[in-house]
């Protein structure tokens, strides 16, 4: 039996999987387990010469809705945890963006409000995007679409939002938060154990974005050393992540459970 689906069957599966796993409020782990089961069924059907649509049904949206309705959903405690974590991360990203752009008095009030608006906007956008999963001509992963839309539209638009609740952050606090977040990101990269230069580079970009204003708060290095700070940090962080995920015992890495 083949381990991969034919392109036509794979597309059928990808759309169904996206429709089910992107449903708001569905327990992601349960949804992924069910989709893995369906994938195995489709492989067996394919081995017997039956297409995904003939086997699973020609109305995947109705079946997807039935699956979503019967899958376990997040409890109110899960929602609360999700809301608090999402708000905290969004707040930190917005506040740090202002710091990175050189605002001496950081509009924490604006960051706090935007940290509510952005996640709600993302959820609404994802629900709208999900509704067209089976009618869209080309299938694209919603995570990538959300990332592109946030980077190219939502974040620049958020700059037009009125600034209020301005606070001066002491340089020591900036250094602690910035270097602390960089360390968290490096640790996260090592813990995930992806063993990938691309992933290490991605983590390093974000770690550098946090570490740079922190280094600036302590006083920028003069001359060539100052100019080498960004590429130097990026390279150093990338090497630490790659070195770390190679040396850190696999049993303590996330990929070990796969």
């Amino acid at each position: 039996m083949s381990e991969t689906l034919l392109p036509r069957n794979q597309e059928y599966y990808d759309r169904l999987a996206a429709y089910v796993t992107d449903a708001i409020g569905v327990d992601g782990k349960a949804a992924e387990e069910t989709m893995a089961e369906i994938h195995a069924d489709l492989l067996q059907a394919q081995a017997n010469g039956i297409s995904a649509a003939d086997y699973f049904g020609h109305d995947p949206k109705t079946i997807g809705n039935q699956l979503v309705a019967t899958l376990p959903h997040l409890t109110w405690q899960d929602w609360l945890r999700f809301a608090v974590i999402t708000w905290a991360i969004s707040f930190l990203v917005f506040a740090w963006r202002y710091i990175f752009n050189g605002l001496s008095r950081v509009p924490l009030g604006t960051a706090a409000v935007l940290a509510i608006i952005l996640p709600v906007g993302v959820l609404v956008g994802m629900a709208v995007y999900r509704s067209g999963t089976f009618t869209r001509k080309k299938f694209r992963d919603s995570g990538i679409v959300v990332l592109i839309v946030c980077q190219t539209m939502l974040l620049p638009v958020s700059d037009l939002f009125p600034k209020f609740g301005r606070v001066v952050i002491p340089p020591t606090a900036l250094a602690v938060i910035g270097f602390g977040m960089a360390l968290v990101l490096i640790g996260f990269g090592i813990w995930l154990g992806m063993h990938s230069w691309v992933f290490a580079a991605l983590c390093s970009v974000f770690a550098t974005l946090f570490a740079l204003p922190a280094a600036d708060a302590l006083g920028t290095l003069p001359g060539w050393w100052g100019r080498l700070l960004i590429p130097g940090m990026f390279l150093l962080f990338m090497l630490i992540i790659r070195g770390g995920d190679a040396l850190w015992p696999a049993k303590w890495q996330a990929k070990a459970g796969d």
Binding site: M1, E3, E33, A36, D41, Q44, F56, I63, T70, P72
Partner: protein, 110 residues
């Protein structure tokens, strides 16, 4: 083979799934094959999954992931739980009553 009307199928598919699982521990693809082989006609496998989830949620069946016998990816094997046995017994009783009633009606018409 004729495709059974969806409303008729809807009422009986849950009982049929319980019966297939009661016969032996099995996974979704085999359940689908067993239903087709038994003469249920063309059933989309997609309709089976929500029912399996529903039965699992009601603690009537339980699934366990195991290696596939034919070397494919691991499969989730389902077995019947006590609540499932009770539900199957209740379905059998209802089905027998319905079938008897239909037979009687046919007898009256002749």
């Amino acid at each position: 083979m004729r495709r059974l009307p969806s409303q008729l199928l809807k009422g009986s598919l849950e009982g049929a799934l319980l019966q297939v699982i009661a016969n032996r521990e099995t996974y979704a693809y085999e359940i689908h094959q067993a239903l087709v082989d038994a003469g249920f006609g063309e059933i989309a496998d997609g309709t089976i999954y929500p029912l399996l989830l529903k039965l699992e949620k009601a603690n009537q069946i339980s699934g366990e992931k195991r290696a596939s016998p034919n070397g494919g990816p691991p499969r989730k094997y389902y077995h019947l739980l006590p609540a499932g046995q009770a539900a199957l017994a209740a379905f059998d009783a209802d089905w027998t009553q319905l079938a008897t009633a239909m037979r009687r009606l046919k007898g009256v018409g002749k």
